[in-house]
């Protein structure tokens, strides 16, 4: 982790912004969201712990963030590593149906905002069930661009 923070990147390079976000994240740790970065600074694995008092309380899931070269003009690809939570907006292949990951992404948003949105999406669930149209999507490889997605209720 430290080797990534020590490097110097040029402004305008995706790594510059990713490094900045990583610093900010580590400076403001959240109990339910832990970040780990391997050799590549643009690939993060975030361990998400279900919030207390919700149906996912205490359960641990892993989110994979991959930042594209033109981040933050384009959103990062974010999906759950196996096994994903059973949630009506999380496909069994790990993909998350969330407008912020596609149509409504804006470059002043950050990875931590996305992680928090996903955590709150899990927290607000009343029952554990998979998406209605899961069978259509489940066989696709996860993490593809959500360019033409239709969001079930306009947001997720």
């Amino acid at each position: 982790m430290q080797k990534h923070l020590g490097k110097e990147f040029r402004r305008g390079n995706a790594n510059f912004r990713v490094q900045k976000e990583l610093r900010e994240w580590l400076a403001n740790p959240t109990e339910n969201l832990q970040v780990a970065v391997g050799d590549n600074i643009r690939v993060w694995v975030v361990t998400l712990t279900g919030a207390k008092g919700t149906i996912f309380a205490g359960e641990k899931y892993k989110l994979k963030f991959t930042f594209p070269m033109d981040y933050p003009s384009k959103p990062p690809s974010v999906y759950f590593l196996q096994p994903p939570p059973r949630h009506e907006h999380v496909y069994t292949n790990g993909d998350i149906c969330l407008n912020l990951l596609g149509r409504d992404w804006r470059p002043n948003m950050t990875a931590s905002m996305l992680a928090l949105s996903i955590l709150s999406m899990l927290s607000s669930a009343r029952e554990k069930k998979i998406p209605q149209d899961n069978h259509v999507h489940a066989d696709n490889p996860p993490g593809k661009e959500q360019a033409n997605w239709l969001y079930h209720d306009d947001r997720c």
């Binding site: 305008g12 912004r17 900045k20 933050p72 409504d104 804006r106 470059p107 002043n108 948003m109």
Partner: protein, 580 residues
Amino acid sequence: MAISPSIITGSHVLKHRHGMSGMESSDGEEYTYQDESGEEDVGGVESQEEEEEYSYSDGEGGCAPVPLPPPSSSMADGCKVIDADELRATMSALIDDISSVLAIHPCAAAALLRHYNWNKESVIDSFCTDPDQAKEKAGIMRFVPDLQTSDKGRLCGICREDVPAEALVALGCGHFFCRGCFTQYLVSKVEEGMGCPLTRCPEYRCPEMVTENFFRVLVPHATLAAYLRYSLKSFVDICSAFRWCPGRGCDFVAMGNSSLRACLCKCGMLFCFRCGEEAHVPASCEDMVTWVEKCKNESETANWILANTRKCPKCATRIEKNQGCNHMTCRQCKFEFCWICMGPWTEHGANTGGYYKCNKYDPSTPTKDEQDGAKAKAELDRYLHYYQRYDNHHKAQEYATKQEEEIERRMMRLQETDGSRWIDVQFLKVANEKLVECRRVLKYTYVFGYYLPEGTARKRLFEHHQENLEKFTEHLSWLSEQSLEEFKKEEKRSEVVNYTRVTETFLKNLLKSVEDGLMDEDGEDMEEGGWEGKSEPGRRAGAAGGGQVGEAAEEGRRTLPSRDGAGGGARARRSGVARA
């Protein structure tokens, strides 16, 4: 080979004449099957005038249904083909109009129009009812014509750095970002493509639209050009009065309305305005959708059965068809046969009741496995029958299209060898163009025929027309493939010219008959009257020369339903009786 001066002259003339010959010359930009004169205006004398007649100057400049010459028929109305510059002018005129009516900046007007699908009336309605709501929906609530500047340094939300005031810019909404980051965001949006005219402020949840004026000041020249292209493209995609020419690499746009079935582009592509595919008369757009879907599903079976090569029915040598005509001669054993039915060519003639009896599907054809002749198999056979002929004409059409260059070379060689004028060898080009057209129509007659109920009088009439067109097309194909030596003879040339005209007549008859709902019950005397024998387009016609062909042309016209109202009524009455 050394290039002689005469060739150079030839190619010069070729360029000069090129645009004026063939289909374009007779109709200007309008393509119509109802051209009664039917004369191919080879010299192209009138083409200049005709083009001017169609010059388009719509004061309203909108996507509203475009005023066109009164439609001659539902099959092929007029259709105006314009280039990107004219299209841009049309779009600007519409934007300027809204801009002056609502007294707003043109870029804001464009955003409004885009939000309301380029419908002028809904823009004006919504704006007059509730301007704030309309502006909010279109993302121009806080529109300003120029970038805002900051009075103090701030954090740029994109690079997350503190940026001095002079490097910051914002839209009317006042969300400041550094110029570099903002530009990078816009460039990336344009790279994403089609959606770029709907780019919004980089701020999370801000609805403000990044309008054209901001793209103009921020992004590099090449990116701006791409943005303007996408903007124009989305304009055409949304407006129902426009349709891109589907031709490969073609940038022309057709203006018309959805009742148009065939629209001829300046690039030579003939396409259906309604569905944007190659013109598919007589089949309907709906038939085409089901047909294409069916072909996709059946393709493996069909491909397995219909391999590209076939065995010579006599010596079993593998033969690949690489010429346009269905009259095949095996190189190995010199056996002549029909590519469609693989029967000997000698059986294709007047003595079998028709020169070319290969277009009809006979449901009673006994199958090899008669006991498991289930419905499914019969259906597959039926489909294959139509698909095979569809595919065959499709390939022949492609072949004839590819021949265009070869034909020009042949025309030049012919000119060299006997000193004919350029105009004297045009017949080869005209014949080939007619072949391409007939192949295309014939291809789609098999789609139309597939969906036409079996055993009806309509189907019989249709197949009769189809058969006529097919045999004349095949013969024309055979004729025009003859060696240049043959064409030194004047009668050979006039034979091609005459057959081109006769074939065209049959083409018109078929299309007209379909358009009239296949109600012509004169079929009785057509089928039994034995005129098929008379107009037999075999080698006999070749031997007899032009006179025979002229007669055939006369016969061709005879099948054309009369145009006067009384005749139509009589036809309808007769057909009613015939059905009862």
